[in-house]
Amino acid sequence: MDALVSNAVNYPTESDEWKWDKPVDVSVQNVERRFGDTPALHGISLDIRAGELIALLGPSGSGKTTLLRILAGLDVPNAGRVLFDGEDALRLTVQERNVGLVFQNYALFRHMTVLENIGFGLSVRPRSRRPNRNEIRNRALELLDLVQLTGLEKRYPSQLSGGQRQRVAFARALAIEPRVLLLDEPFGALDAKVRRDLRRWLREIHDRTGHTTVFVTHDQEEALELADRVVVMSEGKIEQVGTPDEVYDQPASPFVFSFIGESNMVPVRVEHGKIWIDDEPLDLAVGDVPSGPARLYFRPHDVEIGDSSPGAIQGQITMQRRHGGSRRLDLDIGAGRGSVEIELPADFSHRTSGAISVRPRRWRLYS
């Protein structure tokens, strides 16, 4: 075990670009975690490929942070296995596991300078594996350069902006040559503009260093933009694992459909291979779906509109508003079915009140 960890340390003396180790793959198998009687994770299984940037996405209480802490070794599952490159990671302590952790609030050491923060992981190694002062310093300066903060090495964390602190936290995690990078809501405490910049920056860094990276977020936009694959979680279970396109275009469950992107839900009935709203059949091709009550989901912008066309959802416009580059209409679709929101081009002024019909272009049916 010791040999494996120390394997990850090889100091380039004068090379410009750091040679990162081959990334590891992470396998989570039937992991369960209970806090007292409350289950936080119900038998989660997930395979993370080497070098992948993967997002754990879900609302608070979905278990995403618990899963991350288990990967980090800060929490221990009640059952299940975690493998790093096929090797049992649960047998390793936090220290031995060699993961790079970045917290939402950065958790920088406030009494150390930026350089000391970055070098911390190297300076606390046992003497036999500890690089000397100069090597630690040079390594920290290289990483500072990598995160584009050259010149700030003597600052204290309190003298940095939120975005700069985040980068320092990132460099500090990279300094220990982590086998896996784990980021807990990495941009959660930043304002929208900085957040967008840092997202792009993180993607670039990831592509250069190639670490297997897992980040937790409740922000779907962040997950879809940044991740190679998104793991959508809810109430301690994985709802869907897929590329951003897959989870957005082919949501596996009503939860995923409504959690990612905007959606409308209309209660319907399936009979004789058709979808019915009351006595009106919808002009939508249903495959092999069993009869009975069902829920029809579609996106506000994925619709065709018409004037009371047959085979479409009929509604009355209750409100219209301008929303950035588009115009949104709220429709009352009657009889306790609630309302439906549709999104149209901003120059749509054809009708802003009265009756209108909506036919989903793309949709999904869940029983």
Partner: protein, 294 residues
């Protein structure tokens, strides 16, 4: 333009005034009250101690403080502080760590128990130890048969002092550690630091100013404690008299000059600790403000 428009409303002398600043009479009154209070209740008594101490002349002053009984009292006081303060640091850190970083049953009880010495009269604190370890106490006869003396000896004085000073370090640390949470420690562990390294390189530096402040307060109390120590000490001159007890004995013997001379030493010790605190704060101002802001 806007200033000209507002000026008639405010009256000319108020132009450019900041709304949250008081008018000068109010300011003068507030500052005056504070200054008079400090003079009357802090500086004047301190001066009185010094004046009385030197009333009989420099020679008498030095005789009083170099007299064997006085020196014994100084030694005992320093010894008691030297034992009680480190004990308090260890206890304070352990208790604050437990309360701030762990969830366990009885946590709120521990938290309020720490304050107990603040609410119990020091005399009672002393009596507890007499009751436990005195000749007629629960463990007294057994301890006596083993040749161990606690009450009317150094161990009793140390115990009473520790009891009285228990809250000082813990009370400074608990709120700070609670506010700081456990993320810094988790970060340190994940970076490969062992538990001890994490404690010495992350946890301790994070609380060092609060710890120092607690130590200074604790030390001042340990050296100045009267009530609890008075009960357990037995007032044996040159043996179990701490400085405050020595001052009282001299005073009761109408030896005012000597009493005030020793009292001035106590006051000096207090001033020295205060000076150390100010000097440290001045020397490390940047670090302190950094640790507060972040």
């Amino acid at each position: 333009m806007s200033e000209a428009a507002i000026a008639p409303l405010l009256g000319s002398e108020n132009r450019g005034a900041i709304v949250t600043t008081e008018r000068w009479p109010v300011r003068a009154l507030l500052i005056g009250v504070a200054v008079v209070f400090l003079l009357l209740f802090l500086l004047l008594p301190l001066l009185a101690v010094l004046v009385e101490a030197f009333r009989a002349g420099l020679g008498a002053y030095f005789r009083a403080i170099t007299e064997p009984d006085a020196l014994a009292a100084v030694r005992l006081t320093l010894l008691v502080a030297a034992i009680a303060v480190p004990a308090n640091i260890v206890f304070g850190l352990a208790a604050a760590w437990a309360i701030a970083k762990f969830e366990f049953k009885g946590k709120s009880i521990l938290n309020s128990l720490i304050d107990l010495p603040f609410s119990v009269s020091p005399v009672i604190a002393g009596l507890i130890y007499v009751l436990l370890f005195g000749a007629q106490g629960y463990f007294g006869p057994y301890l006596q048969s083993q040749g161990i003396q606690i009450v009317f000896a150094l161990p009793g004085i140390v115990l009473a002092t520790i009891f009285v000073t228990v809250p000082f370090v813990a009370r400074e640390l608990v709120p700070l550690m609670q506010e700081q949470g456990t993320q810094d420690e988790e970060a340190s562990l994940s970076l490969g630091a062992s538990g001890w390294k994490t404690f010495f390189r992350v946890t301790l530096p994070n609380v060092k100013w609060a710890l120092l402040y607690g130590v200074i307060l604790c030390n001042a109390r340990a050296m100045g404690e009267f009530g609890a120590v008075s009960v357990v000490s037995g007032h044996i001159r040159g043996k179990t008299n701490t400085m405050p007890l020595h001052v009282e004995i001299l005073y009761n013997e109408y030896n005012f000059a000597a009493a005030f001379a020793v009292a001035s030493l106590l006051a000096l010790l207090a001033l020295v600790t205060l000076f150390i605190k100010v000097a440290l704060e001045w020397r490390y101002a940047e670090q302190i403000s950094a640790s507060r802001r972040h």
